[in-house]
Symmetry: C2
DNA sequence: GCGGCATCTTACGTTAACGTCAAGATGAGC
DNA sequence: GCTCATCTTGACGTTAACGTAAGATGCCGC
C-alpha cells in the first residue's frame, strides 16, 4: 500500500514543506529565527517533524487572517504548555475575537473611503461631461480592461 | 471688517497649515521632498500660498482614501497642466475607480478572514465548553472590556 | 548682547516579513 | 576528482511615511 505522506511519524525536509505550503525556505528559517519553529537537525540540515508541520500550518492560517508573527508566536508558545491546550485555546479565542473587532473596524474605514471615492467620481464625471466628455472612459475601454484582467488571471495560473 | 483667513491672496507659515490640518512640519517638508508641494521662500522660511494650501488639502484627502503619496503626486502633477484641469480630472477619475476596485477586493479579503476567524472561535468555544468552561470569557469581562474601550475614546478626545 | 522661539537642513531610526546575494559545506552520481 | 544540487549561515536590502535628534540660523523684545 502507498506510503501516507502525512502519517505522524513522517519527517520533512525544508523543501518538502515549502512545496506543500507554497512558501520559501527563507520564510521557514525566518520563522525559526523568531522562535515559531524549532525543527530537529540531521547534521546541519533541518528535519521537520509532523508537529512542526502542524505548527507551520497554524502560522500560515494566522497570517491569512492578518495576525502578526509576534501574535502567532504568543499563541503557539502555549501549545507546548500545561493543561493540554486549554490555555492555548483560551488565548487563541481572545486573539481571534480581538482580530475580528479590528477587522470590522478596518472594513468600516474601507467603506467610508469607498463612499468618499464614489462621491469624488460623481463630481468628476459631472464636470467632465460638462467640459470634456471626450475624456470620459467609454464602454469599449471598460470592456478592454476586463479582458486584460481576465488574461492576467489566466497567465497567473490557478489561484 | 475681519480678515478672511482663507482669501486667495493669503499666505501661510508651515505652522499655520499644520495647525489647520493637524499634521506636522516634518510631514509638509516630506511632501515637499517628494515634489508634492513647492512653497515659496522668505529667506530660509517656507511661505505657503493659497494654492499650496489647496494642494495640501488634496494630498490629505488622497491619504484618507488610501492613495500612496506617489499616486497623489501623479494626480497633482496634472494640476499645473494644459487644459484647465480636464486631464487632471480624467486621471483622478481613473485613479479613484482603480482604488475603489482595490478597496472592494480588500474588503472581500477581510470578510473572508472574519468568516474564518468566526469558525475558529466557534470551534474553540465548543472545545472549551467541553473541557474547561471556566476559561471562557464571561459577560462581566465583556462588559468591562466595553467600558475600557469607551474610556479610551474619551481620553483620546474628538476623533 | 542675550534668552527664547520658530524655523531651517541633514541624516539616521522605525516596522514587518521576508528577498537577495555571498560564500561555504555536504552528499550523490559519474 | 569533478560537477551538481541542495543545504547551511550571515548580513545587507526593500518599502512607506514619516519620527527624532542634532546643530545652525534668524528675528523679537529687552
Amino acid at each position: 500500500m502507498p506510503t501516507d505522506l502525512r502519517r505522524p511519524q513522517r519527517t520533512y525536509t525544508i523543501r518538502q514543506l515549502c512545496l506543500e505550503f507554497k512558501c520559501t525556505p527563507r520564510a521557514l528559517r525566518f520563522y525559526e529565527d523568531k522562535g515559531l519553529l524549532t525543527p530537529a537537525r540531521d547534521g546541519m540540515n533541518r528535519v521537520y517533524s509532523y508537529k512542526d508541520r502542524a505548527r507551520l500550518k497554524l502560522i500560515l492560517q494566522g497570517k491569512r487572517v492578518g495576525l502578526s508573527l509576534a501574535e502567532i508566536g504568543e499563541i503557539l508558545d502555549l501549545y507546548d504548555l500545561d493543561d493540554g491546550g486549554a490555555a492555548q485555546m483560551a488565548k487563541s479565542l481572545r486573539k481571534f475575537k480581538e482580530r475580528i473587532v479590528a477587522l470590522e473596524s478596518q472594513r468600516e474605514d474601507i467603506d467610508r473611503a469607498i463612499q468618499e471615492l464614489k462621491v469624488g467620481c460623481n463630481n468628476l464625471e459631472q464636470k467632465l461631461i460638462a467640459t470634456r466628455p471626450d475624456l470620459l472612459p467609454r464602454a469599449a475601454d471598460y470592456d478592454q480592461m476586463l479582458r486584460q484582467r481576465l488574461d492576467g488571471l489566466e497567465h497567473a495560473g490557478a489561484k
